[in-house]
Symmetry: C2
Subunit: 382 residues, 2 copies
């Protein structure tokens, strides 16, 4: 089997995890995860000297300077897990040197940077590690929504507080929870997956408002409590709630359509209600007391389908790596490509900008305004 040769840029938590998966090595707590069949790890790069030992243990080449790895012929593709601000810089250099790029989420902090990365692609592959897209439940839900059977979206509510992070987490690395280090808080670090999954199900809003709180019950200066209200082209509305201080972590997504409703609990279980007739017909033919009586005989109102799907930790990454290699080797469509990364960052930028302005903003928002407002916060943080 033809195998794609990977080099990893950045050997922090994620880089080390990906190295172990690609090399088929055991992980603390999780054992050995399925090794991608069409991938081979050939090199890792990191300024930190301990990485040389890790490389030796993995039996791969070590580069203290990632430029050298990219310039060499040791790999066909690079996985980028350096801090978000550097994603585009590494990706552009790598693609200019003929390497394919698989980039950690988010694609970047600034949409303006991500656009530069996309412009530099040429004929190189650019994939995103938006691994939660492989969640079988969301795949089924995307298929149901895309089939059109649920009709038009009217509403989407996602309470996604399942990102509890204590102060020790923020203190564990100087870049965490800072404007200069990662460009924000929950919107930039934890939420990208949900923003992406949400976009798959609802499409891009045209306008949003975000109430953002910075340092909510945490010793940080970036946002870690957000309420985002969205307005979509077809007339639908939505809300997304997230924070990092809820130890009980509600994760509940509701999608209301004119022909049904979907409720997803914990991203693991979904209830799909299909109306016996479109809401437009009920509106024309029923009065509201009839509707109240139907609560006693719900089968006259809708059918119910329960969907469950749970995915083991790590199999998602394996699937992302295999898909990327298959894309490069035989042209299979990517699970998540550069445009998907840009779309997610555009939504994140608009959320942050609205929070800073405490006012609704258009989506995508003004890139120059976002960049200037972010820079202000970076300068103040020092």
């Amino acid at each position: 089997m033809e195998k794609l040769r990977f080099g990893i840029v950045g050997m922090g938590v994620q880089g080390s995890l990906y190295a172990s998966i690609l090399a088929g090595k055991a992980l603390p707590h999780f054992g050995t995860l399925p090794q991608p069949e069409n991938c081979v790890l050939t090199a890792v790069s990191s300024r930190s000297p301990e990485t040389a030992e890790k490389a030796a243990a993995l039996g791969v080449s070590y580069f203290a300077d990632w430029h050298k790895m990219v310039e060499s012929d040791v790999c066909d593709a690079v996985i980028i897990t350096v801090p978000h601000y550097l994603h585009h810089e590494v990706a552009i250099f790598a693609m200019e040197h003929g390497k394919h790029v698989l980039c950690e989420k988010p694609a970047g902090v600034r949409a303006s940077d991500v656009r530069k990365m996309l412009d530099a692609r040429g004929d190189r592959a650019l994939g995103m590690i938006l691994n939660q897209r492989t969640n079988p439940l969301f795949r089924k839900l995307n298929a149901i929504v895309a089939s059109g059977e649920m009709g038009q979206l009217r509403r989407s509510n996602w309470i996604c507080n399942s990102w509890w992070r204590p102060d020790s987490y923020y203190a564990s690395n100087a870049w965490r929870g800072t404007w200069c280090g990662e460009g924000g808080g929950v919107v930039v670090n934890q939420l990208p997956h949900q923003l992406d999954l949400w976009l798959c199900l609802t499409g891009m809003p045209t306008q949003l408002y975000c109430l953002a709180k910075e340092g909510a019950w945490r010793d940080i200066g970036v946002e870690n409590d957000v309420t985002v209200t969205t307005r979509y082209p077809g007339g639908a509305t939505g809300v997304l709630v997230s924070c990092t201080h809820d130890p009980l972590g509600t994760d509940r997504l509701e999608l209301d359509f004119d022909q049904g409703k979907i409720v997803v609990e914990g991203s693991k279980k979904a209830t799909v209600y299909r109306f016996c007739q479109p809401e437009q017909v009920m509106n024309q033919t029923m009065d509201h007391m009839q509707m109240a009586y139907l609560a006693a005989t719900p089968e006259k109102l809708y059918t119910v389908e329960e969907l469950t799907a749970q995915q083991g930790f790590g199999t998602a990454y394996t699937e992302i790596f295999e898909n990327f290699a298959e894309h490069v080797i035989s042209g299979a469509p990517l699970i998540a490509d550069g445009e998907d990364g840009l779309r997610q960052v555009r939504l994140a930028n608009a959320i942050q900008l609205s929070g800073w302005e405490n006012a609704p903003v258009a989506v995508p928002c003004d890139e120059a305004q976002y960049d200037a407002e972010l820079q202000k916060r970076m300068d103040e943080e020092g």
Copy 2:
């Protein structure tokens, strides 16, 4: 037993219902509801001539002109169920003529009008028919929150779409779903109960933003799809979602505190989670992977109490009437008084104004600005 003598002003749907309850008459679909023991219905007033027949059937006096009923000695108290805009006018006239007043929700459309009503009270009683306050579940929850055992509020999310109303409902009366007739849509007509219950649990926000849609999938010009984002004095945030076009009517309230979480489903069932230690302590002593492992042994993280309470239709009204009479007769505290009515209208006004401006507003909002913006809409509607 001393009984308070009631006259009803306005004999539409609510007025006729209250008359039947006070007179111990059977209702269509619901049979006979418990009759308040310390109340007696003595008169009803309405311009519509059929009310004379209703009065005869009930064995009470009939007045075509409510002023005459108020000026007479036929009753000690009036129940006001005329259109919202007229509440303060009737209430003020009644109180000036020595009558006690029990007013249908909302207390009025404009907070400025409600204030006038409160200013005219003198030593008269002014109660509000905020009957959902008698829901035993919410009484328990209010007691739990008021006891302080849950600690400080951090977050409140209420999806309250359980107000499906078809076009035939809006067409059933010329005043329904109009600015001139009732001063708005879901915020003014359906939501007052939830706004009031929410205020009891969270207190008044200092700022809010509302994304309001007018005529969402309905042939009306007023708001029937709202998303309200709130900010509270203690640093908590919240969201309230409501619409009149969801036939499946989600009703889910979540309250996050630093020492627990409460989830209320359908206003009938609540799950109360009490953390084994305050979140502040978890934040100081645990890392986020430890927290993830605790998902397998949740009893180390929290205790769970399930509360259920269902109330029959109509017993709430009986309780409101009995309480009001007891208040007048022996000084018992009111379940809901004029200040409660004003508070609820102030929140509603801020929600509508924010929706009109598509911008965050302070709560309470500027009364003159609200009144002027509402008048604009009334003038345009013609």
